[in-house]
Subunit: 114 residues, 2 copies
């Protein structure tokens, strides 16, 4: 066992909602899509252009999942041609601290040659 | 475009190391395994018992990946029977804030009936 008292965490060893959240956020491309939406890209083509390697089909699928999860709101503007925007909901915007935390960790630990 | 200046994030739209980190952390079971290690489980059987649905094979695979990524350190104690412990490295322990952030978000947003 780990005897370091200071290392005691403030959460339980397993938590089903944590598991749901990490599977949602961790699904391939989802992190990158949320990151692009956080930085103000809200058109399908903009997000697609920002995320190298992401296909049309997978972006559609992920946006639909995020919409179903209440993280993204899809708005259709009845113009010609029709304009569709994807915005983060409040629930989605609150992922910013997590995205920021992962970025900070990644910049510290994954950029140095290992 | 989003006209809310206060919502401007402090990171770029796409970042390859963020992508590497989110794919590492987001891989199926990895979040739960890191969470179990953070809470002081450091024997293979302890982690296995803490994470419902995780198989022997996948736990071995994930621990090996985390060891290769420098997140987990495996120590073999030459006793009879041999004792093996898995501990988070400094790099691994610094995932605690991210795990905590995801937990807080999940507790706020995923526990209410939707």
């Amino acid at each position: 066992m780990n005897g370091d008292v200071a290392a005691q965490p403030m959460f339980s060893a397993y938590c089903p909602v944590f598991q749901d959240a990490v599977e949602l956020i961790g699904r391939r491309w989802t992190g990158a899509i949320v990151r692009a939406l956080l930085t103000g890209s809200n058109r399908f083509g903009e997000v697609l252009a920002r995320v190298p390697g992401l296909s049309d089909r997978l972006l559609s699928e992920r946006l639909r999942e995020l919409e179903q999860a209440g993280v993204v709101k899809r708005t259709v503007y009845p113009e010609v041609p029709v304009r569709i925007e994807y915005d983060l909901t409040e629930k989605g915007r609150e992922l910013e601290a997590i995205v920021g935390g992962i970025s900070a960790w990644a910049e510290k630990w994954l950029t140095a040659a290992e």
